[in-house]
Point group: C2
Chain length 488, copies 2
């Protein structure tokens, strides 16, 4: 007897893959759907709500809030999309000469100059070599294009590694809490166990190796095979930048415990404090004398972050070192099943890892755009942090890097009670009320994980600088009313 | 005790996800790696091999073999990548006026005109609406942008559906044999069971509903829950175009048996025979009177195929109809975890579904490019088919559509013996010998599946037309020598 004959629809939520049902992705979750509905309402009836626009501070999406792309990068992409332009004299009136030269160089790296062809499954070899040269210049240690896998942003790269490493729920991945929900979602989708380690809010979201050890032992005692450690540096949603000494201890820990180190380094250009610098985990490992034979290490990078913020281009790469040739072959195979990442994204990844140099025609304007964005982000981070810290019942660590603040909400018992009555987590309740009062969209801390009984929100630092004062005053006004309503 | 202390490397092939190990992807498999090695050899030492170039007939990658992109599409992409051009008068000297107008229209559909922002998880709403309008114009039935999910090519869309539908190896997906190995790979990666149905080579790769029924019953008798039927139309690797009556029976079969119909329609523009036409399965279902409530149906489309062949752009979509809102929400969630597909690919998908119209400035040159490519492909398909059929021990069905021929090799027993002695399948042995003698890369039939005891190769029709005579003569010469060597 057929299913249909029995009257059951072929597919219901109950007959979907339960791993999909289990997966959650707060950054685009319920609160965002609610915001989109309010936005539609606002379009239909502009006076219906107590604000005139929705401010999406839920996601690291700089250009959606008005950040302009870097001109040089877009010139090169535009030329590579339409190479016939390169033969025309009029082109020089519209494009800078070094962008034209760079487009030629890139086309020469592409077999047949065919930007519309599937590339090698790892990405175009010449572009991978250029990225490797950029990594070597950054780190002072050799890098090889053979170790680069170009991907459509960092997310598919993370999925790929989870798919390779996770066999069952008995395989665990050590992840920071709070974490970027891509990790929890990907681990859930691939059926593994997230083994949490807690960042210490008191010490500026410190990552303590003792905590890693404790959680590793605890997972092992439950029969979990811990396969990898995820570190996000600079941190998301927490914004801390790890100290070099700390990174060394983390590398030693992975080496001693036989863990793959999955290093999310997509915010490597986003550092806002004088006393901190970005060091890649590969540089740290090589500084310690570890070679390719000692430690499996994957570094994720993306064109979506940094000062470029090219989220829509979906470019990125992972640098894969320390695996056997046989394992590498399996990574290659999984990459092959999707053929290749998009070639424009590949080109852009090579550009961000090898931007204009001093002496190039575009160098000065490029540096002006770059530094303008980064210094503005630093000012925005500081202004928002100070604003949060000025409010009753909110404490907020500095954003040393990345694109987010993760303030803690010390909520009155009455507010917690109101949330419970509404059947929602207290931080989700707060975020919903904030949205409905101000149009500001933030993500409740519960989407990232937090120490039980503490409550947070993640707020990006990305609204354009001229809007920050208004955002702060809207936020303050809301928060004060909220506290007045619920103060114990 | 830690793993490392015990001396085992953290990751070996034996400790990888066994589903990854099980997955195979012949289109980029062993023979291609061998070809890449020969190509490197050829670069170092041009006289070392009996040919002077490698001809990649293993993969549907038109632009890698010299096909030029459609000018209008690339103009629009180039402008959207660098919108600052749109304000400059010099731009009119380089771009056609309707491409400029179209770029404006597209930018107006993108919130904030931000082509560098993450879009809605399903893709930019205005572009989805344009695609839906294109589908409606093609089919004569309503289509909705809300049902479109834009993806980085068709492959991630197929993975997404497999991930949703497959819970365990007890869930089966009916797939044609021969099939495009994306399906077997994706089913393996998600841990399901491929339930094969055989296409009938005798009747031009006919798809018989009796065969579907037989295989469905057999799978059910083994305790497999068959969840979906994959149909590839036009066929890959088999090139047949289904007749309307046949499609109706397939739709009825899915409806009666409670199966999701997964319709791979990426070759919808590639039809080479007068007496056949493409009909989408959604059109067939609506013609039969079935609505959204009757039948879950997913149609996959890609910018990589057709006359455009923009593989490197990774654009595509799936049109999803007939699922409950709750199931749709889960599809949306999985799409969200990867944020969005690349925006250039999204724009290109909207262009191929809504190309220039009569009266537009670019219309004539566009039609000339389009028809030039399609008619040349038809001639190449015919020339190669006739060549294959002229050879001893080869029979080859017509390529009515798609980009491939799938000739059957009636190999002498001695050749089969030689393959066995070399520890390889007879068709893989033949493909390797062909590559080493001629530089022509084809994929052994075993990578697609075939009736046991039959042997095939898949060869694309994509080498440029002026090269076809030389390819045919190289192929003939090789084949005759091969037969002379092994004739029983």
């Amino acid at each position: 007897m057929s299913t249909a004959a029995a009257g059951t629809p072929p597919v219901t939520v109950d007959t979907l893959n339960p791993k999909v049902l289990k997966c959650e992705y707060a950054v685009r979750g319920e609160i965002v759907t609610h915001a989109q509905n309010l936005q539609q309402e606002l379009q239909k009836n502009p006076d219906s709500l107590p604000f005139d626009e929705i401010l999406y501070c839920n996601i690291g999406n700089p250009q959606s809030l008005g950040q302009q792309p870097v001109t040089y990068f877009r010139e090169v992409l535009s030329l590579c999309d339409h190479p016939a332009l390169l033969d025309k004299s009029e082109t020089h009136a519209l494009y800078s000469s070094d962008a034209i030269e760079r487009a030629w160089q890139i086309l020469d790296k592409i077999p047949g100059r065919a930007t519309g062809a599937y590339s090698h499954s790892q990405g175009i070899k010449g572009l991978r070599d250029e990225i490797a040269a950029g990594i070597a210049a950054r780190d002072g240690f050799h890098a090889s294009g053979d170790n680069i896998f170009l991907t459509d942003g960092a997310s598919p790269a993370v999925h790929m590694m989870m798919q390779l490493l996770i066999r069952s729920e008995k395989d665990g991945i050590l992840c920071p809490i709070p974490q970027y929900p891509l990790y929890s979602a990907s681990i859930a989708l691939h059926g593994g166990s997230l083994v949490p380690y807690f960042l210490d809010e008191e010490t500026g979201w410190g990552l303590e190796v003792d905590e890693l050890k404790k959680q590793l032992e605890e997972a092992r005692s439950k029969g979990i095979t811990v396969r990898a450690l995820v570190v996000i540096n600079p941190g998301n949603p927490t914004g801390q930048v790890l100290a070099e000494e700390n990174q060394k201890k983390i590398v030693e820990f992975c080496k001693n415990e036989g863990l793959v180190l999955l290093a999310d380094e997509v915010y490597q250009e986003n550092i806002y404090v004088e006393d901190k610098q970005f060091h890649s985990f590969k540089k740290i490992a090589r500084t310690l004398g570890y070679t390719d034979d000692d430690l499996p290490l994957v570094s994720f990078q993306s064109v979506s972050k940094g000062y470029y913020g090219e989220c829509g281009k979906r470019g990125g790469y992972m640098e894969v070192t320390g695996f056997s040739p046989e394992v590498r072959e399996q990574i290659y195979k999984v990459a092959s099943v999707n053929l290749c990442s998009n070639v424009s994204g590949q080109i852009l990844a090579s550009l961000v890892m090898n931007p204009p140099k001093a002496g190039d025609e575009s160098f000065e304007s490029y540096m002006e755009e770059r530094d303008g964005i980064l210094s503005s982000l630093a000012r925005r981070a500081k202004a928002l942090e100070e604003a949060f810290n000025s409010l009753e019942g909110i404490t907020c660590n500095k954003a040393e890097g990345a694109m987010y603040l993760f303030p803690r909400l010390h909520l009155p018992q009455k507010a917690i009670g109101a949330a419970q009555a509404a059947g929602t987590a207290p931080d989700a309740y707060y975020a919903k009320r904030l949205l409905e009062a101000t149009g500001i969209v933030v993500v409740p801390g519960s989407g990232f994980g937090q120490v039980p009984g503490t409550w947070h929100i993640r707020c990006t630092i990305l609204p354009q600088e001229d809007k920050i004062p208004a955002i702060i005053s809207r936020f303050k006004e809301f928060h004060e009313k909220f506290m007045d309503e619920f103060r114990d």
